[in-house]
Every structure is written in C-alpha cells, then in structure tokens.
Symmetry: C2
Subunit: 414 residues, 2 copies
C-alpha cells in the first residue's frame, strides 16, 4: 500500500471520530495546537532555516523566499490565528430544516462535516496550520500536500499539531501530510476519490488550473481574480478615484485587486485626466483602449489579451465604454467571476449592473478589496471560490460542511 | 468555431436573459412547452419511431428499447410533469442574508441561477424535457447531450421546446442539444469550462464514472446507490421484513433500492428464517456470509466483491454482524453514500447509526426507497447527489441555484 492509500485510510477512520466530536473537544484541540506551536517555535524555526538554505541554493526568488520564511513573530501570528478560530461558532450539528411528510416520515436536515478534505498548496508554511485548523474546527480530517520547498517546515508544523491533538485526547490521524513530493504522486492525490471528499487548491493560477484539469475529486476552484471597476456617467468622480486607487494599489498581488478600469464615455475625459497623476504617483502602468490612449498620454495601447489578464501587479488595463450595458458585457466576457464594482449615483444603473454581472461579489460604490472572509465577518477564510457550485466568494467554516438527511419513521414503506 | 463553442456562446448569452427573467415569464414558457409537446405529439412520435427502428436494427436490448419508447401517454406524462414544475416556488431572487458591517457596507446574499448547466444522459427522451424544464425554471440555460439512440426523438423534443420559448417571447437559445455524437466531442463537452458552470450526468454507473473521470467542469455526481438495511437486535422483525422487501423488491433497478441486508447476530436466526420464504416468493437471489449461509439453506456464498456491488436486480447480499458498530463500519466501507436504514427499537442504537453513517440519507425504521425528490416534498428531482459538495441526496430546484453577494457602500475603501 502506498503512502496515499495508507494515509487516506487513516484519515477516513479519523474523520468519523472528528465528525461526532463536540465543540468543546474541538476547541480544546485548537487551543493545544496554538500552545504547542509557541512552545516548539525554536524547533520549527530550525527546520524552516533548512528549507531556506535549500531555497537559496536552488535560486528561489526573493519573493518566494519571503513566503517561505517563518519568524518568531510569524509563528505568533499563526498561533493567534488558531485562537481566533476557537471563538468562531461550530458550523456542524445544526438542524437547518425539519419537515413531516403526509406519510408521517420526519425528515431532518443536519449540517455535517465534508469528511476528508485535501488541500494542495505552494510554499507558504502558514497555509499548513491555517487550513488544518479550519478543517478540524468544522469536524473534518485533512490531507495536506504543500510545496516541496517547505517540506521540513511543514513536517515540523504537522508534528506539532499532531502532538497537540494527541495531548487533547483525539485521533492525531486527522491530519496527514503527503511526504512523497513527486509529480506522479501529486497526480494520484488529485484522483484519490476513495478517500478525499473534496480538494481545495490554494495558490497561484497555474496550480489552480492544474488541479481543475487533473482532479477527479470534486474541486473548489479558488482565487483567480480579474476584477473590474466601472465608473458610470453619474459617478462621484473623487469617490471613483479613491475606490480605483484602493482596488488597484493597496495590495496589487492579491486576487481581489482590480485589474481593469471601465469608464463611461461621457466622463472618460474628466475621470482619466484626474486619474492619470494619481496612478502615476502609485507607479501604475496603464494599458488602454484607443480612446484611453487619446485621453491619457502616458497610457500604452492594450491588447485584447490584456483585458483577460490578472496582472497581480501595478498594471491597469483601461477601456472607455458606451454605457453600463457595454460595461456588463465586457465584464461577463473577460472576468474570472470574482469581484466587480460600479461607482454610480444612478440607482437604475446600479441595479442593472448588480443583476447583470455574473460574479461572486458585486459592489456598488465600494472597493473590490473587501471580498475577503474577515471583511465579510466570517472570522476566517479557507479561500475565495470563483465557481458557482457549493460555495461562492469568500469561504468561511460553513463552506467546509455538507448536510445529511436524517429520516425517522415507524415502518413506512413505499 | 465548432458546435460546442458556437452553442456554448449562444447559451452563455441566453443565460443572462434567463437569470433576470421573472417567475411569471418563466412559468409562461413552461406552460407553452407543455402545450406544444401535446400539440406536436404526432411529429415527436414519428421521430421516435425512426429511433426505435434503428434501435431494433442495432440490436438494442428490449429494456433499452422500452426506455427509448415514447407513446401518446408518455408524452402526456412528460407534459403533466412540466405543468407540475410551474406550481413550484421560484428558487431564484431570494435574499437569504443581509449583514451590515461596522464600516457601513451592506452585504446581501441573493440566490441566483447556476448559469449554463450541462446534462449528459443516455437514451431516455423524457430526460430531455424533464431536465431542460427544471433548469429553465431555476433561471438557467441548458446544454443537453443525450444518448445517440435517441437522436431524432431528442431533436424533435428540443425543437418543440424552442418553439414554445419563442412563442413566449424569450430567447430560445437557452436550450441547446449537442448533435455531434462522437466520443471525442463528448470528451470536449466535459471540458467546456468556458461555457458550462456545472455538469450533471444522469444515467448508469458507467456514464457517471466516465464523467467524474474526464470532466474538468464541476460535476454533481448522481445516482449510484449501494444501499443497506440493518436489522438491529431490538428490531420489530415483521417491520424489518416489510422494510427489507420494500427496499429490495418494489423497484430493484433504481438507485434507492437496497442491495445489502445486515442483521444483528442475536436476531439473525429468527429474522433470516422469517425472511427466506418472503425473499424466495419475490424471486430474490441471496448471497450471504458464512453465518448467513448456515442459517439460510438457499443462500449462495457472497464474495467480498458482492458487498461492493449495486446489483440493480433481484439479488441481495446478506451479512450477520456483531452489533450496530460493526454495521456502521461495514456500511461506511462498502456503501456509495446514498441511503441506509436501521430497524431498531433502541434509541441509542438509532442515534449511533445516524451519527456514524456517512451517507446522504439515513433512515430509522423506514425504507430506503423514500430517497426521492418527490417523496421529500421538493416537487421535482434533477437527480440524487452522492457527493457532499453543493447538494446531497435528492436535488430539487434549489440545487440548480448558486448565490451572489451584492455589496452596497458609499465609497468604502480598505
């Protein structure tokens, strides 16, 4: 039996114990995890240092090295994050519906854990703990497949978590880390339907595409965000500028950052003239349609490809549109269905935009940057779904649950 | 541009119009569809006759020919089914949550259609209309890929539905039938992520496995049912027998039929002695564990494979178990997570069974045959989900929707 099947079997068994664990027990485990992480910070940092040495030897980019890096402060941050999950309501065991049928059958709908969740991610060791803890709180077992650059860090973090679970008297098998880092095994991991109930990729567009392409386990697609800000003819232009600069520049590398500005033709000149120096000050490169280039001397011409691109960088594509309808069609054609915003004072245009846009989060007069589990008040986030099945937009603990029908009778037959 | 992309594009455009259609409009379309089906019954039957001639020439089994067959009565039944969907509540446009955040952002959660739904199915022409109508009622566009044996029947049914939609003043592009029946195109259909939001296979285990294996579009896995009845030590044995016979024999070919009987060791002799003549009378072949075979002379020995098998036939595998815990472990190991029943008078055993079983529907003292959208009171059914993502168990109209966050601000930035 290979590692996948051995660990899959352990997870499936452990998942049954976790599914029926009460809230207090799960919180006791989380508390022990936070304590153990702090108590063993030195060990974790030593292993992380080894990963970093290897990363430098292998010529990993400085940005990637920074993602990989753990410090005492970062471990403290991870442990604080675990403690915050303790305070969140338990999403499991709720009865969401009770119906008694004419034949006397009582049909109850109960929230239950998903079961065994696979997480496939890159070289960010914090994801190891964040994901595992959210899965456990929702009563799930979790199979982690992290980036190979973080192998030693992840092993140390998982060892900590397992020790804490053991201390708290629960089955430590509920967390497994895939050690075999081969591509072949990653592929098999994505086809482990016997053991995995769902697979959540967390990482860049390439990883997510690969998982969607190759997985036979049900996937929740996350994180790819080609987000738009549309400035309507009746927009408060200073508000529009503030939203645009926030959406584009406050953290350009994240998925809820804006990539494209659409501007109504009748305010294009006024708005683009106002926006040009502000964007320049932020170091934003503008790639515009012909009309944009005519109005904004610093803009380079945009290709069709630009409008499909999630730059994750200080680059903005800009297009002048005829009206809100053209904006809607452009967005539905080019976006990744993540987050889009309209800035307008016209209720009818806001309504048309909200109804017409096929994205997870549609904003009226606010920045796309709010698409986030914490900003939505979920207290946590396992990712941002860009598919429509199961969960859409920011996913909190509830997204890590399913439901079960419990039907009570007294001998009914059909 | 090939057929998939051309029709995909038409569907995507039509889906936007359907997403914002009001209930009255959608119901008007459904009513027109029912009328047109009846008005054009002769044309439909003529095309169906051609499919049947080809089916006989190609040596299709009698059972398959029967599934393919349409009659005036069956068309009436299909039209009646359409009219029933008119009466169901519109699942779209409901506001399920409103939260105002400390920064003043108002976050509303609205139910919205899934978008474009792909249905891949076998040679049952009724599925063409049933599926399309449910998708339309929930505001979706639908891309149908039916079995090649029903090509002419399906084309006639789709032509009828399109004509009705046109009459009702809505975009008929919301229904498309894939005419290219090649395997290669079926494969591409399952990878049409640009246009399809979800893919629902409706058919036998082979079709469903192929779709799960090959699809990159999010799939809702349906219909495979290796269901269990467990007779506990405190069971009312006549009730247990009535439930077993109903679950096994009332319609053995369907997914909610029972395939395996588990019986507590302390009542095994009494129950199996009672069950043997009843099963024999129904023509059920029993394949049992060693203990079963000792107690039931007519039983053949079961292989391990038997306990994993969905017979869809008058065959029953039987195993004597030590207690409810062994029953739970056996079921979680062998079942397809569809429906399982316990017959017991012991509340603690019922509770342990319900909490411990990892299936969509868990019954206490009732037949597994109730796992059905109509029996659950949904008024319709697009299939029975055996996965945990998105929808579980019988799926009604609500399962054909997603949700969208609509966020209203007055210039909030982060």
């Amino acid at each position: 039996m290979n590692e996948l099947n051995t660990k899959g079997q352990l997870l499936k068994t452990a998942a049954r114990a976790w599914a029926v664990a009460d809230t207090e027990t799960k919180n006791r485990v989380l508390s022990a995890i936070a304590d153990t992480l702090m108590a063993q910070a030195d060990t974790i940092l030593k292993e992380n240092e080894q990963d970093l040495i290897a990363a430098r030897e292998n010529g990993l980019s400085v940005a990637m090295q920074d993602r990989l890096l753990l410090t005492k402060d970062r471990i403290q941050g991870i442990a604080d994050g675990v403690r915050k999950v303790i305070d969140l309501p338990d999403p499991v065991g709720e009865i969401t519906d009770v119906v008694t049928r004419p034949n006397g059958l009582r049909i109850e709908t109960h929230t239950v854990p998903l079961g065994v969740i696979g997480i496939i991610y890159e070289a960010r060791p914090n994801v190891t703990v964040d994901s595992a803890v959210l899965c456990l709180k929702a009563g799930n077992a979790v199979f982690l497949r992290g980036g190979k650059e973080a192998t030693r860090s992840n092993a140390a973090l998982v060892a900590c978590m397992k020790e804490a679970i053991r201390q708290a008297g629960m089955p430590e098998d509920a967390i497994q880390l895939l050690s075999d880092q081969s591509r072949e095994t990653a592929k098999e991991f994505m086809r482990l339907n016997t053991y995995l109930d769902v697979l959540i990729p967390r990482g860049g567009a390439g990883l997510i595409r690969a998982v969607v392409e190759q997985s036979t386990v049900p996937v929740i697609e996350t994180g790819s965000g080609n987000c738009h800000v549309y400035v309507d003819d009746s927009a408060d232009l200073p508000m529009a500028l503030s939203i645009l600069i926030n959406a584009k520049c406050s953290r350009p590398s994240v998925c809820n950052a804006a990539e494209t500005l659409l501007v109504h033709q009748s305010v294009a000149e006024a708005f683009l003239t106002m926006a040009e120096p502000a964007l320049k000050e932020q170091g934003v490169e503008v790639r515009g349609c012909a009309k944009t280039c005519a109005l904004m001397p610093s803009a380079k011409p945009a290709t069709d490809e630009d409008f499909y691109t999630e730059y994750n960088d200080l680059i903005l594509s800009v297009k002048v549109v005829e009206d809100v309808d053209e904006a809607i069609v452009h967005i539905n054609t080019h976006s990744t269905r993540h987050s889009e915003a309209i800035v307008t004072k016209t209720q009818a245009h806001a309504d048309a935009f909200v109804a017409g846009i096929d994205s997870a989060a549609v904003y009226v007069n606010a920045s796309t940057r709010f698409t986030d589990g914490f900003e939505f008040g979920f207290g946590a986030e396992i990712g941002i779904s860009t598919q429509k099945l199961h969960a859409r937009g920011p996913m909190g603990l509830r997204a890590l649950t399913s439901y079960r029908y419990q039907i009570y009778g007294d001998g009914q037959i059909r």
